[in-house]
Symmetry: C2
Subunit: 308 residues, 2 copies
Amino acid sequence: MSAIKLAIVGVGKIVHDQHLPAIAANADFELVASASRHNTVPGLPGYTSIEAMLAAVPGIDAVSLCMPPQYRYQAAQVALAAGKHVFLEKPPGATLSEVADLEALAAARGVTLFTSWHSRYAPAVQPAKAYLAAHAPTAMQVRWKEDVRQWHPNQEWIWQAGGLGVFDPGINALSIVTEILPSLIFLKRATLEFPDNRDAPIAAELHFQDAAGMPVHAQFDWRQTGPQSWDIVVQTADGELKLSNGGARLWVHGVEQPLEQEAEYPSLYRRFAELVRAGRADVDVAPLRHVADAFMLGQRKVVAAFHD
Amino acid sequence: MSAIKLAIVGVGKIVHDQHLPAIAANADFELVASASRHNTVPGLPGYTSIEAMLAAVPGIDAVSLCMPPQYRYQAAQVALAAGKHVFLEKPPGATLSEVADLEALAAARGVTLFTSWHSRYAPAVQPAKAYLAAHAPTAMQVRWKEDVRQWHPNQEWIWQAGGLGVFDPGINALSIVTEILPSLIFLKRATLEFPDNRDAPIAAELHFQDAAGMPVHAQFDWRQTGPQSWDIVVQTADGELKLSNGGARLWVHGVEQPLEQEAEYPSLYRRFAELVRAGRADVDVAPLRHVADAFMLGQRKVVAAFHD
């Protein structure tokens, strides 16, 4: 089976930290080029636009789109129109309307579109999902609290309208929640806290329920100093389940469980190769849809100005 | 062909003004019952819940759900689970996640789900759509400016979080725009104006583009006194198209066109009967998705307090 000829579009920190090592370790892929306005990958032909790259490099089968979300739709359109398979970093677009259109374009062209959610491949996620399939949850609490000064220092774009603010990490929690729960959940009410001097929320509190009334309470906060928390706790009739460290650790009835090594991006590329080989798509907008629902339904509170 | 036995759930002003006359004039339907917490329809068996109604009245084929959006999902779930066809007033739900689930439930049960958008049946809409299919638009401006004190006096719910504010009429404009344009559009930036004392926007300015860059500029405003405007103007290489009065009047190159009589709700019920007879669904969330995109992407501005 010949390798899938892959190109990277949008070369930033996440590409160097995660994508390049995962691709290098996967024999299903041969990395052949990159396109990025300002950056290149050492040893790889680099172009300043996806159009220039596709014109110059024959035989590209697939592209990974890793630029900021507001530029992703236009590049995905170009790639799908050229018949390339497309891997989208999270979130899959700046708006839901864009993603709906990309799904239709990929189906019409018969190529793979993969909306990736890396947190779903954290080692605790599949064991937690299996547990909850066998032990119905009665309630869930999500606490995603981190220090934005530590994780996003001086990143202005994340505070602009459309930058999503605290939902940038929060959407990772929602991608896990929607993966492990056996039922769908629906937002009932929400509060979003906007710093006086910013256009994106610094904190959010979300109240979901499933169709049977099972409550899911989520708190996202970017003002956490000291210990950081990326925890999901689930009550069941048989006891409690707890995921912490964003799904890197798992407790069942208070007993920590042995887990596989963390391998989120290698798993994403293994999944992408399977989809391309099988000629299938995997488009799940549920996490981004919950975020849009939260902005639409949520009550806005103005809180103290935030300065980096 | 026997009549479709129909029940109305949520009996308010719109039901008396629009639904009941349209149903009475349509031989495809036989109205057999209603359910509403506080209201009844003279001469019709009335129940205080959809569950009580379905238990008491045998042979109901279909229900029209006309209660406020935040109660629609639960009722639709009950109806679809009971194998009933469902007509949803606009907007089809409080969140996009709910509507996505209803679409899946209806498909699984093999019954009709119809997300109705009454403004799409305004008399100018299909002629405008036909014109734009033959004459490619180069730009569009939408002006939906009305006096909220006149149209929604002292309606507190419309100002609450999730009440959508000026998007309540604005979604009618978006339902027309997405019907008549030959291409899809995507929100690029937006501004939402929130009164200092309210949780929903009183005005919004939206900048869309289609994939080729064709601009659509929409202004929604609830502070309009004097003449009201519900206008859509479209430029084409061959001249200008203008819809006014919410699609009740149409000008082509400055010449007003003769149109059919206004018959939005009769047309909606004709369409619903066709769908039920054909065993098909018609679920289009595009207008609500654009609203959610606007809340997610839009910049919030706080403006002067609003008092009824």
